[in-house]
Amino acid sequence: MKKIINKPEDVVDEMLDGLVFTSASLIRRLPGTNVILRKQKSEGKVAVVSGGGSGHEPTHAGFVGSGMLAAAVCGPVFTSPTPDQIAAAIKEANQGAGVLLVIKNYSGDIMNFEMAEDLASMDHIEVKHIVVDDDIAVEDSTYTAGKRGVAGTILVHKMMGAAAEAGLSLNELKDLGDQVISSIKTIGVALSAGTVPESGKPGFVLKDNEMEYGVGIHGEPGYRREPIKSSKEIAKELTDKLRDAFKWNASDRYAILVNGLGATPLMEQYIFANDVSEILTKDKIELPFRKVGSYMTSLDMAGISLTLFHLKQDQWLDWLNVPVETTAW
């Protein structure tokens, strides 16, 4: 393992201090916790709080700021944060209108966030949650019942943040969140595994010439291994899967997110985005919102994921486009 770190057990703590150093005007760390809060509060608006294991940077703390997340709770690498930390984030982030939790669909995350919801209700704070499960690669995975939550989560963060800022109530936000989540689907491919600092070894091993479709963001198994293909062929495989899942029609409108998983350079992400755009242009679907970059990573995993979000209402596109002040959006 070659990493620029100090002690493996200190990576999350030191990373968070570094993040706050980078964006000191936007965010702060709740003392004694791994909770990142935005400095600018929106009084009277619902606070959107997310979080999960670390190792997916810039998710989740990179999306804390005006117009997006009110707080992010950062667990150990690939491990859910504990309920006391989540409850502390809920309490601090609350702006008087309740708190919406955005949870990725992992069993540990769900149990810890729901437990925190119970603790917050003992403090009489109104809390609801939505669960992101956008990864269409496989059902039931190592840490998941149902489908996994992956890169589409950042679009959910953006939508919920914008809608909260627009003044939606907690109930309205939850309903919107459920609709948005059912309109987002993601699928990815891995070329090599990420290495968790505390274990020091790659999470799985692929041969030099191999890739695996559908690997999860913690290295969970995907659906097929085969010799590495060209970007065009990978783009065809992934868009075929998404077409089957969405069953889109010409002139449907989608947002597209091409996401690097940590060790894949932007050059390759743009090449892949170009190949996807050719296929989607042939299908005559419209792409009024486009985003390329490493937003939901898996440490130093090499690979890419493709997310499409069916924009069923014009308002949704507006909410994606509203400017925000965060470290990473």
Binding site: D84, M111, M115, D118, L119
Partner: protein, 194 residues
């Protein structure tokens, strides 16, 4: 009946037992989980014992709530929220005027099932909690009943939790959460609380 003193004694005994069996719990977890149940539980119960020794408590509810917060903040993974939910549920029930040990354990079991959504026979800690609850209701809780409930998880195929991913390969192994729950109830007997 639970009192402030015997509840603290019960939970202290549990912490000592978990510390003593830390490696064994992790060994059980290596077979069908990720191998850290002993380390996680002992970190949580040690913090619990420390917290319980640091202050004076007025009510059983306060004791159980403090224990819950220690466990859910220090254990982590799935066991943290599961034991945390059990103790939070027990704390809430302990606040009721005419409660008893059976009702408190019932509230703990309800808390675990609400959190983890496991049913009896899924090869989880729920299997031990529900067997113990049944025995408590009948006034027949013994070490042997607890041992049997823990051992009875071995032939089952896991349907909830990390072990469920192994499917048939989980058969033949005792569930680590069932074992640690067994310790909790054996300490109830060892503490002379029944």
């Amino acid at each position: 009946m639970l009192t402030v003193e015997n509840t603290i004694k019960w939970l202290d005994l549990f912490a000592d037992k978990v510390a003593a069996e830390k490696d064994y719990l992790s060994e059980l977890d290596q077979a069908i989980g990720d191998g850290d149940h002993g380390a996680n539980m002992s970190r949580g119960t040690a913090a619990m014992k420390e917290a319980l020794g640091k202050q004076n408590f007025g009510t059983v509810q306060d004791v159980l709530k403090t224990a819950a917060m220690s466990l859910l903040s220090k254990i982590g993974g799935a066991s943290g929220p599961l034991y945390g939910s059990a103790l939070i549920g027990m704390a809430k029930e302990a606040g009721n005027a005419d409660t008893d040990l059976t009702s408190i354990v019932q509230a703990g079991a309800d808390g675990i099932q609400k959190r983890g959504k496991a049913e009896p026979g899924d090869k989880t800690m729920v299997d031990v909690w529900l067997t113990v609850l049944h025995a408590l209701k009948e006034g027949k809780l013994t070490d042997a009943v607890i041992d049997q409930a823990v051992q009875a998880t071995a032939p089952l195929k896991a349907k909830k939790g990390r072990a469920s991913y192994l499917g048939d390969r989980s058969v033949g192994h005792i569930d680590p959460g069932a074992m640690s729950s067994g310790y909790l109830f054996k300490c109830l007997i060892a503490g002379g609380i029944l």
